[in-house]
């Protein structure tokens, strides 16, 4: 028996004004799966993630149709969008250190969710910073400004923040473009551990990264889901769609 999918997307279409960003995308993601999403710029990858946590609602000109279900619940109809977002961790391509201390950056989400117990907060902050491979570098200056960290450190801080509210789905939007290769590898190791506890959507431009991590890979092109298959199949010599081959082998783009 196939277990119920964790995320189910059905006919998702997004327009910015008259311009389509996603055209009828449908796919499912299994629990504890790492799904890589690849595709050239403007193919709708980020829009897809922003639909999932409904931050696209804040975009004035975006129109969304279609169904997104998480645990069989239609998230586009839920009234409690804040609860939804707490179930999803989101990491943007460029690091966003809030102008708070390192500690407060990570403790922000738990505090907003109502956790006030000092010991629990401290424990969470340490755990998330360790998972983001940042703890050793900042443990002695947790109460200095997060915005003073280097770009790579800030990105890891962002990852720690995305983990701080115990999400069941983690979305990473090209998380490694601001990080050096060694740190990238360390975080990739962390992702492999985390998949036991969460479902991971990994938007990436690094073909090798998708290969190393993903169970399955989706290829988005021009807002259209061209192909979604086992990662080996996508990167093989014989994916089902010609355009996938062209993209993964650098024939166009």
């Amino acid at each position: 028996m196939i277990p119920a999918p964790h995320i189910e997307i059905e006919g998702l279409t997004v327009h910015y004004g008259a311009k389509p960003a996603l055209r009828g995308v449908s796919f499912t993601v299994q629990r504890n799966e790492i799904l890589a999403i690849i595709g050239p710029a403007q193919s709708g990858k980020t829009t897809l993630l922003r639909c999932l946590n409904r931050t696209l609602d804040h975009e004035r000109h975006a129109r969304v149709t279609g169904v997104i279900k998480v645990d069989n619940e239609d998230i586009r109809r839920t009234n409690n969008v804040y609860d939804l977002r707490r179930r999803i961790g989101m990491v943007a391509p460029l690091p966003v250190g809030l102008p708070l201390t390192i500690y407060d950056n990570v403790a922000f989400a738990p505090r907003m969710a109502g956790i006030t117990d000092r010991a629990e907060l401290e424990q969470r902050v340490e755990r998330c910073l360790r998972q983001a491979a940042l703890w050793d570098e900042v443990k002695d200056r947790l109460h200095t400004l997060g915005t003073k960290l280097s770009g790579g450190q800030q990105q890891r801080l962002t990852i720690a923040r995305a983990l701080s509210h115990d999400p069941e789905i983690l979305c990473l939007d090209e998380f490694s473009i601001a990080i050096d290769p060694v740190t990238t590898m360390r975080i990739e190791d962390v992702l492999k551990e985390l998949r036991a506890r969460m479902t991971i959507l990994l938007v990436t431009n690094l073909v090798q990264q998708a290969r190393r991590l993903a169970d399955r890979t989706a290829f988005l092109f021009n807002g259209e889901l061209v192909e979604l298959d086992a990662t080996e199949k996508i990167f093989s010599e014989t994916p089902r769609d010609r355009r996938t081959y062209d993209y993964t082998h650098g024939v166009f783009g």
Binding site: Y82, M90, L98, P99, M112, T158
Partner: protein
């Protein structure tokens, strides 16, 4: 043999031209800055020199005497504090909170656009028009009579649009990515505003409010019809000498009367009044700046 290496840093004609332009640009900007400062320094120096013989603690704390030809400016000074204070008490909270709504919550629809347009237009209305509005609305329609209350409300109406506009600017200067980062972890809009947007825009907001203090203290027209009087003696040294329904004197108006309406005023008196008005505004600004520095140090930012 070593041939002399060509000096790669030798000035080419192009480099020389660029350097000349750089110097020219610098000189122009410097001159403009100087043109800005020199008149200011001259005016202030002239004022202070002319006012010096008259200025004293007694000047500040006694009422005008002998048909304003002698004595101090106590009732006008206190009146100005009352007017500015109460108008800010009304205009700042309403203006700031309205701006937060307009910038953080309001959707971009026809209603918001009309409100924004109204704010901008209201900010451009001459103060004499506000004065007539205040006379019609507060003094007559709401029956407040000519009073500190009516005059403060008129000043508040006058300063509020500018406070709204400057607060919106300050809020818009907070990067959108901060808000998105907060929303991404499930923070509500209010939590985002309270913990990230406001702490990072408070100094800009205060700057906008401070500028309106100076404006409210300096305006004559709006208070002339709504609460300020030619002359009024109050108990000297009592900070609570005015009631809200009383009429009051004000520095700006007092300056106007003694320089144009009263014959045979001693030469130093108007200058001293001007210096006190200037000093009052600077004093309030200084307080706000201290508050701003304190807020910043608390946010470690």
């Amino acid at each position: 043999m070593n041939a002399p290496t060509p000096n790669i840093f030798a000035a080419t004609p192009l480099a020389r031209k660029k350097q000349r332009r750089e110097q020219l640009a610098r000189a122009v900007f410097f001159t403009m800055a100087l043109l800005l400062v020199v008149p200011l320094v001259l005016i202030v120096t002239y004022l202070v020199v002319q006012a010096w013989p008259v200025l004293s603690w007694e000047f500040l704390t006694t009422n005008p005497k002998r048909g304003m030809r002698a004595g101090g400016i106590w009732s006008a000074l206190l009146g100005t504090f009352y007017l500015v204070g109460f108008s800010l008490l009304v205009a700042a909270p309403i203006g700031i909170l309205a701006a937060v709504y307009l910038n953080e919550y309001a959707k971009d629809n026809w209603f918001t656009r009309i409100v924004n347009l109204a704010v901008i237009n209201l900010a451009a209305v001459p103060s004499i028009v506000h004065a007539l509005f205040g006379l019609g609305a507060f003094v007559i329609f709401f029956g407040l009579g000519k009073s500190i209350l009516a005059a403060s409300l008129t000043l508040a109406i006058m300063t509020m649009p500018v406070i709204i506009a400057s607060t919106k600017e300050a809020l818009a200067a907070v990067p959108q990515s901060f808000r998105e980062a907060c929303w991404n972890v499930g923070a509500t809009r209010w939590q985002t505003i309270r913990h990230v947007v406001l702490p990072n825009s408070i100094s800009g907001i205060l700057t906008g409010v401070i500028l309106q203090v100076s404006r409210a203290a300096g305006e004559t027209a709006p208070i002339m019809f709504t609460g300020a009087v030619f002359f009024k003696a109050i108990e000297e040294g009592n900070l609570f000498a005015y009631g809200l329904r009383d009429q009051c004197m004000a520095l700006s108006m007092h300056l106007f009367t003694i320089s144009t309406q009263v014959p045979d005023v001693p030469h130093g008196l108007p200058f001293a009044t001007a210096v006190v008005l200037l000093g009052t505004v600077l004093f309030i600004n200084a307080l706000a700046i201290i508050l701003r520095v304190w807020l910043r140090s608390r946010k470690k930012w």
